[in-house]
Structure formats: C-alpha cells, structure tokens
Symmetry: C2
Subunit: 423 residues, 2 copies
C-alpha cells in the first residue's frame, strides 16, 4: 500500500486527550499497511493566543517576526503528537515546515508554496517512521526566513505534500463530518455529500464554504489528488473530493451539490462615472495597485441622457477601508460623483456541475428567492455556479428556500420542512 | 564601539510588560553606539509548562521530540522581543539556535556546542539590526535535528556567541543584582561582589551557586570573555566575572570570595570492600559505565584486622537510584558487604583564590563549624576551595557561621550579627 497524508486541525488536537486519540488513529492507519505522513495544526486556540500576545507588545508586529511567533504553535502540537505515537510503540519524527522542505516565496503571513523538497520525510518513511509535519508554515527560498501560508493553510500544506510525495490520497480531519449541501447551522436538514468534484468544491470554497481552504482545493485539482474530508471524532466516511468527473460520471450526477453563503464581503458603488472608454478600467487599476481583489462587478446601463453610469463591486470587508481611500484619491481624475459603501450584504451561491446540462436552474433559483420576498442586489454566474448578493439579514432565508427548492433537504429535514414551517 | 551580547532570563521577559522593559534597555545599549546581540530565554515558566504538556501525553517523551517541543518557548519570547524593539523604532531580527549557527552534538536534552557559525547574525548587525537569538538551543551537526543544551544553558549560548563574535563583553541579566558572598536567603548580610575571577566563579557554580550555569563559566574562562551578571530590574552595576587575576591583582584580592552550598547531592557508602588493589576502581568503573558523575570520595583507612574498608562518595540525587542498581549488580564480583544511601546531606564550600597564599584557612573554617556544633561528614579541597559534607538540616547554620568567620558580612549585616543573634 502507498502513502497516505492525514491532516488534523486544531480542534482535533486541542488537548492531551485529543492528541492521544489522534495518535491512535494514525497508528491504526500505519498498522493497516500505509506509510503515513501527518500534517498538524496548532492546538486549539494557540494561534489566536499567540496573536494576542503580539498585540500586547505592539499594534504593528513586523510580519517576519509574527511568522516566527505563530510557527511556535505547530511546533508544540507536532512534537506532542510524535511523543503520543512513540508512547503507542511506533516510530514518529516531527518536522517543521522548513525541515519538511516546504519552500515558499517571502510574502510573510500569506506566503505561497514554490516547491516541496521532502527529502527528510522520504527518509523518515524509509526508516519505517511516521512523519509529522507542521502545517501552515514554510521557509522563504530567498531570505531563508520562516514564513506562514495564511489562516487555514494547513490544508494546503497537506495536499501539496501529498502531491509531492505521490500519496494515494489526502485525508483532512476536523470536527465536522464532511462537506454538506449547506451550512447545517442554517439548514438543519442539510445532507452530507459522499462525493463532490474538485471543480464544484472550488466554487463552494470560493463562495464561503469554510470546510476547506481555497488554495488547498486548487492544489487538489491541479495535482488530481483525491481528498477525503472527515471527522477525527468518529469513524464515519466523510466526503470525497475527487478529480472533476468524466462524461460518464456526469450522467449520474446530481444537478446541484449545495448552497454556499458568505458574509465576509462588502459592496462599493461608484456613482456617476462618465460613460467613456477606460473609466471603469481606471477604477479597477487603482484597486489592483493596492492589491485588493474584487469579486462581483455590475455596471448599470448608462442613461443616454446623462452619459453617466454606476459601477458596483464586492470585495472582502477587511479591505473596505483601503479601497475607499484608493478610490477617493482618483475622484478628480475619473470625475465620478460619489462613493457608497455597504457592508450589510451577503452572498448566496448555488453550485453544481450538473447545471451545465440543465436549463431553467436560474429561473428556479430566482423564483424561490422571490417567493420568500428576498431581493436580489447583484448577480454573477459561472458555468457551474450562480451567485446573488442579498441583504445580510436575508441570507439565512435565501439559503433555506434555495436548499428546499433544489430538493437538497435530507429526508429527516424534509419532514420538518414540509411539516409546516412554511419555508 | 564593539559588540555587546546581552542575555535575558525568563523572569526578565515573563510578560508583555517585561518584554517592553527589556526592549527599552536593549535599545539604550544600541543608542549608546554598540552593536547588540541579545540571547533570550523562554518567558517565565513556559519551559516547565511545555514539560507538563509532554508529561500529560507520555511519561517517556523521546528526547528528539522533547527538544522540538521545548524550543518553542524561546521562539515565542524572541519574536515578541524583536516586535517590541521594532515598536521602539529600531530594526530587530530574531534567529533560532539553528539559524544563529549554534552547532551541537546530537545529545538531545544536554547537547554540547561544537561550533558557532554566526553568519546570519553578522549580516543582521551589518544591516544595523539588533539580533535576537534563542538561548538554550542549537542544531545537531550530524542529524540536523533541533537540540537543547540543558536547563539554564541560555547563559552558555550567550557567552559562546560572545566569544564567537569577538564581543567586548557578555551581560547576563536576571532578577538578582549579581553574585553574592552567600545565598541572601540564608545569609541576609551577604554582600554583592563587584568582581570575581572566572576561576573562583567556576568553583562557586560547581558548588551550588545557581546564578550562572557551570558550562557558561567554563566558556568565559576558556575564551577570556568578561561577563557582567546584573539585574534587568535596576540600573545598578552587578558583578563582573573577569579572567583569572594576574599576580599583581591577587595582592589586593580578598582571601575568600564567598560561601556556596548545594542540597542536590546524595551520599552512597559501600560497606566492607575487600582492601585489595583494583576493588575501588571496579566500583567507579561500574558507575562510569552508566554515565554517573561522582563528586567527593572518601575511603576509610582499612582496619588491618579485617582487611575490609568502606568507600563513600557523593553524586547528584537524581542519579541515586541508578547508581544503587549499578552497584547492586557487582556485589558478588566485588564482594562488598552492603550499600548505604543517604540523601539528607548538604555541601558547604568556601571559595577564594586568596586562600592559596594564606595558611590557616582550613583551621578557621572547621573551627567555626565546630563552635556551631556542625559535624563534618566528608571533606574535599582544591587549591582555591574547601568543601565539606554536613547533615542537610545543618546547611544553613554552617553557611551562616562560615560567612561570619571570614568577615564576609556586610556592615548592615555585621550590626545584626554582632548585635546579639549569637551567630
């Protein structure tokens, strides 16, 4: 049997008991005949606690030093996990991101993996040891400084390492059972998916499903690495994220895999932009210059009488202030009228590769929203996704009615839904 | 001006306030025109807390993984210290032991420094940055694994780095004001020494004075590096530990620099050893084979009638159990009668290079002990030290009467002593 890469999140290794439980699971996989490489996050809230410590010292920690600080978290969890495995009578060796050969660029706090040179991991496996690797961290190719890959990036470490090692699959363990058709906190009747294509998962992640880091899914797609998302607290099968389906598979596939939502965006409207060639480009250049990624864009049809148009776009709320400043600086140059800022919005997305071959999905989606009295502010679509921006207060309702309209509710859920809640 | 290496102990950086206070002190040194390299310990009780975590996972943590775990402590303190310095407007860069080029052997938990290759530190200084280095840790030359140098070894890191960098001096900051003539908790009238030779400091450290790590003093002596032991909580001058005095200096030197004591040893007596050539050697070979270092040894004059002798020696209490087992295994071979184990002992040592040229020191020492009714169980001497083993319950009294007998009490102390306490 081949190599299996397993990743355990912070909630799975929150204390000594959790670490021992995880160690037992790892040893079971080893005993089943696999070579096992484990990627581990920091214990519980360690990373946040370290951030708090930094804040007590300075409001503006230098990024290099913040990375040095935060990487202490995985160092602790990985060493303890290696100890717990040794206690069970198996060889284990822990490796920092740097030791594991996770080579990144020098963008502290949000570094990208450039290369993986897992020589020490390969040697550890050869010596019949289980390799434990710190998630979330690497070493800069140019400066040799310690870097971190951004929040939640241990998933990315795991899939990238699985790809570099030629692993059979990558198992991502957390405290949830898998990928659901919608957030079960909003839709109690949401079903766990047994299987989802990487293409669909990519849209789910991009649209706010928090179960997997977007970059992790991108890696899985690029390297065609099967990923199994599952709970470390049970032995149930989770959700398999598999390379995008072949034609044959697609025949049997559900039209829609799920409904995702995202409350982390804000909307900016640039009012009264002169409707001339190049004005819109000038606006987005100004945003790109300060490294702000925008998501959805809508340009109103210009009123022929005025020669003016409005441009609305969404972006991460965290970047809202910076975007407003950047746009304010070009007001004279562009000659727009004013800026409107709205962070009381939410995005609801319907995702499924099946919608490619099924007409009428958009109509069914919008009609469900209309029946529930939800107003659509913006729309964007891809081949396998339809997203709408609605008022933040209507996100839950929008997710619920959409989930029902596309027959995604589980049977238990259906009984509740059709039993009189009126949704 | 040249390079100054400063080392701050855990109590000096126990919280954000402490870290900011230390940062200010470092910046002041930098502003005074020095290149500054800082060695820092883990914050407060971090190392003990990490050990506790390990114990919750396993009673026998693999040494490699324990080192990986413990080194997280300095990683946290050094990154925070670098941030605090940046907040004061100065450049700072933190380095792990490995990044700082602290190359060690592979003896996890008690590694020895083999070499220091401080290229990155040199570069940081060239770029006008303050270099912050993790104490207590290094990287194995052969396995490339992370090692630790043993409890309290951040002092050693500091002096070794100072020597490798050709520093002017090495300042060791802690929460005490310097080296005292005796432990002030036992002798309230103990005086802070302004100056002590490395040779004397070596004996003080070896005899239980906890202010400096023994290996650190050995480094200071070998590389003739002046060490200034002082408090990070005040701006008072501390104690200078200076290369062993020249003849000229010695003229003015005090006869005795201090009284040290040590409660960490135990005594083993091998009773009824046949008084033949090679029997004693056999006993100490057995102890050496299990890597136990013995301290003092006494062999009684054999009673001609029986042809038997008793051999007593002292050793670290922590090794007591192992030593007894090792000796039990050779009972038949050596043919001794029985083993006695006593851990209710203490060692009191009188130290001073001046005693070389002053006869009568021993007589004055023993007479002081006798007057106080303290019984001497064992004696050992060097050129600049006399040590005695006494009952553990009499250690405080022995230290106090010796301190007074050699006129070491400060004036304030003398007033108390001669004012009627009867010591």
């Amino acid at each position: 049997m081949g190599i299996v890469v397993q990743k355990y999140g912070g909630s799975s290794v929150a204390d000594a008991t959790g670490i021992k439980r995880v160690a037992q699971r790892i040893v079971n996989t080893k005993k089943a005949g696999h070579d096992v490489v484990v990627v581990v996050s920091a214990m519980g809230d360690t990373t946040d606690e370290l951030r708090d410590l930094a804040e007590q010292v300075t409001p503006l920690p230098p990024p290099r030093e913040l990375d040095m600080l935060l990487t202490a978290g995985e160092r602790i969890s990985m060493a303890l996990l290696a100890m717990a495995i040794a206690q069970l009578g198996h060889k284990a060796r822990s490796f920092t991101g740097s030791q594991a050969g996770v080579i990144t660029d020098a963008a502290h706090g949000n570094a990208k993996i450039i290369d993986i040179t897992p020589g020490r991991i390969v040697n550890a496996l050869k010596e019949d040891a289980i390799a434990i690797v710190a998630g979330f961290q690497g070493v800069s190719q140019t400066t040799k400084d310690i870097t971190t890959l951004g929040r939640g990036a241990s998933d990315t470490t795991a899939v990238a390492l699985a790809a570099a090692m030629g692993a059979e699959c990558c198992e991502i363990y957390s405290d949830v059972d898998g990928v659901f058709t919608a957030d079960p906190r909003i839709v109690p009747s949401a079903r766990k998916l047994d299987r989802i294509s990487t293409e669909e998962m990519l849209e789910m992640a991009a649209c706010g499903a928090k179960i997997l880091h977007l970059r992790c899914v991108e890696y899985a797609r690029r390297y065609e690495m099967p990923v199994h998302v599952r709970s470390s607290f049970s032995h149930k099968e989770g959700t398999w994220i598999v390379p995008t389906s072949t034609e044959e598979d697609e025949m049997e596939q559900a039209i829609i895999v799920g409904v995702a939502h995202d409350r982390s965006e804000a909307k900016i409207t640039v009012v009264g932009v002169p409707d001339k060639v190049g004005e819109a480009a000038r606006i987005f250049e100004a945003l790109a210059a300060v490294e702000i990624n925008i998501d959805m864009v809508v340009q109103n049809v210009s009123a022929a009488a005025t020669g003016l148009t409005d441009i609305s776009f969404t972006l991460p709320r965290a970047d809202g202030q910076r975007a407003m400043s950047a746009l304010a600086r070009i007001q004279d140059e562009v000659g727009y009228d004013k800026l409107l800022y709205d962070d009381q919005i939410g995005k609801v997305s319907l995702i499924g590769a099946g919608m490619r071959s099924h007409p009428g999905i958009t109509a069914r989606f919008f009609s469900a929203l209309a029946s529930a009295g939800v107003n659509i502010e913006m729309i964007s679509t891809s081949e396998i996704r339809i997203s709408v921006i609605v008022d933040e207060s209507e996100v839950d309702t929008a997710v619920q009615v959409t989930h029902t309209a596309f027959d995604l509710d589980s049977e238990a859920g259906e009984a509740v839904v059709y039993g009189g809640t009126g949704r």
